[in-house]
Amino acid sequence: MHRSKRFEVLRNRPVHKDGFVKEWPEVGFIAMESDSDPKPSIRIKDGVIIEMDGKTWDEFDFIDMFIADYAVDVSVAEEAMKVDSVEIARMLVDINVPKKDIRKLVNGFTPAKLAEIMGHMNVVEMMMAMQKMRERKIPSNQCHVTNLKDNPVQIAADAAEAAIRGFDEEETTVGVARYAPFNALGLLIGSQAGRRGILTQCAVEEAVELKLGMKGFTSYAETISVYGTEKVFIDGDDTPYSKAFLASAYASRGMKMRCTSGTGSEVLMGNAEGKSMLYLEARCLLVIKGAGVQGTQNGAISCIGITGAVPSGIRAVLAENLMAAMLGLEVASGNDQTFSHSDIRRTARMLMQMLPGTDFIFSGYSATPNYDNMFAGSNFDAEDFDDYNVLQRDLKVDGGLKPVSEEEVLAARNKAARAVQAVFRQLGLPPVTDEEVEAATYAHGSKDMPDRDVTEDLKAAQNLMDRGITGLDIVKALYQSGFEDLAESVLNMLKQRICGDYLQTSAILDENFNVISAVNMPNDYMGPGTGYRVGGKRWEEIKNIDMALDPEKI
């Protein structure tokens, strides 16, 4: 056969490098609306759920049991489950139906009911619903700050820049596990040097993550993973009960946390029990709610290659974000992993969350170039900053970021690097040279950074933990080395866990350490003229990109 030249051109387009798979419902390779998903049902006797989604009490696995015992409100369940799913879908889209009326019904829903409602909605309707159901009135954004070399000075500088660019939460992780204390330290100091009140976390093994939090090196946690089938839970040596216990450990010390869930993980691990990805995610979300956790990071997350490969997968990703919002959970809505070779596709996927706004549109926009992203790359990275800013300006949408000047970024990066240098000196850690400070100030990524003595760093990092250094020692070190303003900021971050206000749903802090959450700034969207509108000072920020011609100067 002669080959078509047009087909050849098409075959060479980036989208052809992506992986796609046809549906295979028998093993759960289907995004949503699978024929093998259970039909919603509920039966209650003497205040106890005796049947849920077609299973009787004696057939419950531990996920069903946990949901029946802790997540479904039996006082409304029977009545709520009777309302037709199409009717619920319409209420979600209807601007005249207030959020609280829907929430009351949702409290009585089972996993199958939530998944069935999503099946009646298209993506535009889901975005309408997300705009209304999102918890916090003002949308926000979270970023990843990591690098290939685990260089803590670069982490501090990138954290400072990310804070100036508008991220309210920053997350780091490690290449080499033992670097965790240094990365957490760099992120804590650097973020406050960019803007006061930034929340930071270090995603590592659960016990280490908890320890860093308890010591005051971080101010929240996110990677407490929940799964939708019993087998996958067990493979991870966990149960819903152990996750609830871990969540309460954070709460007991006044630290913000949310879980991580997301479609696709059960399929990837080969144990989806023949159910659709979205139905299994509905189970995860009810486990999270039942555990009393305030929020979740979902939207396929690290399994986006699975959900994104099947028909209606990106619709399912939006649906899972929406289900979480309906349940009253804070939603950090994914967009945090490389998803496609195609710029068109990765942008379209991201708009599903950016346009309606979520609590955190990205649960990890890469604040570094993707080559430095130790979460294996994000959907958008530092090289996309200007594109993203232009999208906000084009659409008059608040995506949580803003254009910044080179001068202010360099000043903040330099201050962050110098502060880390000073703290390392005060705490007796391996020295940070002036050359490193200089390099971190101007760097784009770790290729621009000199190498550190890794062996010495790892020894000192372990020693830092063994010596029992806490957040207060960091405050002292900053104060004694002349960074009094940073000392005050870090101290204020530590105070948060004593007053505990930032444990409320969807909490972030402003530059004066005031909590902005679903409690004091609830989303009150009910159509045009209500809810969050981009305007005033914020619109001026978004508008003023330096690429635009100024007519007055011509």
């Binding site: 490098k17 992986g19 798979v21 295979w24 994104g308 099947v310």
Partner: protein, 244 residues
């Protein structure tokens, strides 16, 4: 590229036809897989049809014969390679299109280059690469084993380690080349000789997920479906033949 199930079916049928023509069923449990030279999995159906019309095909043939229950080796000059339930059977190439013929041959060559012997076993009770590798290590006279999933994921294991630890893990199967398989064989042999070789540096590529994650899940599910719980590992006789 899209994973084309139809294509796999055609290839399988073709192979089976070849086998039927070549040898009458004799009750022996033989699996084999073929890999046409120059054949690429993303070529389209018509092209394949055209190719198969030509009678003369250069086909590498991997023949795997089961020779009874695997036993622990007595001599310390061997490395045992454990293969997953579908390897060289219902699956014939890695996620990246390297034929199982080449994978086993490279690993065997790597081991032999170090002066050691290579023994093959098939593990039926699990599709988890860590447990396959550990099973192989426990059967190995040297205590060193290699585990292989059909999609190409490989682990070098040692008999006295915890299952989820290892000597070397090659988790990103799409990035493993033929040369790396040979080096995996070499390094395993060096561990078996009591040396401490430098670990093979593994490449990291953030676009592996969008390209391969879904396919990896498919291949893993298919392999997991062939797991036979409780079945003991069997000894294999592997021959690297060539069909003309």
């Amino acid at each position: 590229m899209e994973f084309d199930e139809q294509l796999v079916k055609i290839v399988t049928q073709e192979v089976l036809k070849y086998l039927r023509d070549r040898q009458p069923a004799d009750g022996e449990n033989i699996t084999s897989c073929s890999n046409k030279q120059g054949f690429r999995s993303n070529d389209n159906k018509q092209e394949l049809q055209m190719e198969s019309d030509k009678k003369e095909l250069q086909v590498k043939e991997l023949q795997i014969r089961e020779t009874g229950e695997a036993v622990a080796g007595l001599y310390n000059d061997e490395v045992v390679v454990g293969i997953a339930p579908s390897f060289g059977g219902s699956q014939t190439e890695t996620i990246n299109g390297i034929s199982h013929y080449d994978v086993l041959r490279e690993i065997a060559a790597g081991i032999e280059e170090e002066g050691l012997r290579c023994r093959f076993v098939r593990v039926f009770s699990t599709s988890d690469v860590a447990f396959i590798a550990l099973t192989a290590a426990k059967l190995s006279g040297s205590g060193i084993g290699i585990g292989l999933q059909s999609k190409g994921t490989a682990v070098i294991h040692q008999k006295d380690l915890f299952p989820l630890t290892n000597l070397e893990l090659f988790s990103q199967a799409p990035l493993i080349t033929r040369e790396i398989y040979r080096r995996i064989g070499k390094n395993a042999a060096r561990y078996a000789k009591g040396q401490s070789p430098a670990p093979i540096q593994v490449q990291n590529d953030c676009m592996v997920r969008p390209k391969f994650q879904a396919k990896a899940a498919l291949l893993h599910i298919k392999e997991t479906q062939e797991v036979v719980e409780g079945r003991k590992p069997v000894q294999l006789e592997v021959t690297f033949g060539k069909k003309v």
